[in-house]
């Protein structure tokens, strides 16, 4: 368990730095988490994070990677609809880094 403080607000996290409470999430927190992961957020990065949050809001679960790949391809063009593009944005893996920055729960072990 850990926590970080941002603008006077304390955010609880788990031992890997994922937000303990998804409702705590905001742009500043996302910025902090991205910095912590060494990711420089561009519009392309935000597209993915926003998609993850929308999906989570609707289905209460992180999307399967193939759904994410397809959604990105649809939105940004077929040449970006592959895992390679996602790993260029998030070298640590979309499941791990993008979900973390989006404030989603940590993916479980043997996924």
């Amino acid at each position: 368990m850990g926590s970080f403080e941002l603008g006077g607000k304390v955010y609880q996290t788990d031992e890997d730095g994922y937000l303990a409470n998804i409702d705590d999430w905001n742009m500043e927190a996302a910025g902090y988490l991205a910095k912590d992961e060494g990711v420089d957020m561009t519009d392309a990065h935000w597209e993915v994070v926003n998609f993850l949050r929308e999906y989570y809001e609707e289905y209460k679960i992180a999307p399967m990677i193939k759904i994410l790949v397809k959604a990105v391809g649809k939105k940004l063009g077929a040449e970006k609809g592959n895992t390679k593009y996602l790993y260029e944005l998030y070298p640590g893996g979309p499941a791990k880094q993008a979900c973390k920055i989006a404030g989603l729960p940590k993916p479980t072990g043997c996924v």
Binding site: I65, K66, T83, K84, L86, K96, G109, C110, V111
Partner: protein
Amino acid sequence: MANEKKSKTPMLDELESGPWPSFVKDLKNLAKKKPEIGQVLEQLEDSYETKTNHWLGTVLNLDGYGGGVIARYSDVQNRFPLAAQFHTIRIIEPSGWFYNTAALRQLCDISEKHSGGILQFHGMTGDILMLGSNNEKTYTAGEELMENGWDIGGSGPALRTLACCVGPAYCEMSCFDTLGLTKFITDTYISELHRPELPYKYKFKISGCANDCANSIQRSDMPIIGTWRDKIQVDQKEVAKFIKENGEDYVIDNVITRCPTKCIKLEKKKIKIDDSNCVKCMHCINVMHKALKPGKDRGITILLGGKRTLKIGDTMGSVLIPFMKADTKEDWDKIIQLVRRIWDFWGEHGLDHERVGEFIDRVGLGTFLDGIGVEPDPQMVKHPRSNPYIKFEEYTAPRIAGEPKESPNVVSKETEGDEVAV
């Protein structure tokens, strides 16, 4: 012995007794150099006592990789702080598990330097496992492995590290180049291996013949097994020699009567085989390996759907492609294309954590074959020769897309005369 210090691991100590090798003995030895191993043992002792598993899974990836590290945290790290992180790195093994000693020494060195100094040859999937790195050392281990030409294996909903038997490199039974095909598929689909994008895991295991030394039929989603479609090669001179050495009774008891389809017989001290009824089980060839050999027109059978219990119980692979040649690059390309079609269809319609065998079970083989563009074949049965009843059913619209037909066209036979309808 009264003042000897009381062992912290009395239950584990029991596993040191007996003449066989003991992991406890080895790890205790290792703990002298690496104190974290001592704490891992103490934690295991606690697990034995409390019947509780203290490892928690988490996600840890090397940059650019979506899998390959099996990350484990201890949930009792306040008591065993040195064992707090104990991750496993999967490493792609060479085809057929052949190493020279220098390669093994190199792996040992990297393991001692960056992880717990424990290696597993090999994990259930077939790859090399390097156990005991913490967060930071997982990265340094990964870097050093890659600098030396090793690559990280698969985990998660991805293509998993392939494995094959020793094949033609060391075995006279092998019906095709298992080693080459394994490398070819690995190279072609390396992105799918490193970056998960499938509904769930997809394993290949490749065996040169039906002896299936790679355990493909039980342990892989897509077993590829060597076979032949002409006649078993019989050398009657060697048959005579075998009979002379072992006696006729031995041949009858151990070969003839053990043929599952009773297609082999001994006539005037000569072996006769009804090849049209042979199911290529390899038994007679194994026993009389000098006298009998697989046929000359060799190829592969591709199966689908082996797995351990998940959504449905344990399954073994069943036949998808009864026979195809696998000699040339063009043949191998056909396998690659088939795999792509399967991934596209299963990837599109498969549920989260649904293996391909379970997917077929859910949507039906007809729908699946339609989806991947393969013609149905009578050999696509789970248990050949075990079901005397045949049901003809007109194939209806796929159950997973669109509306099904109002009523399936089932062709049924009217009950005739005094026959009793069951």
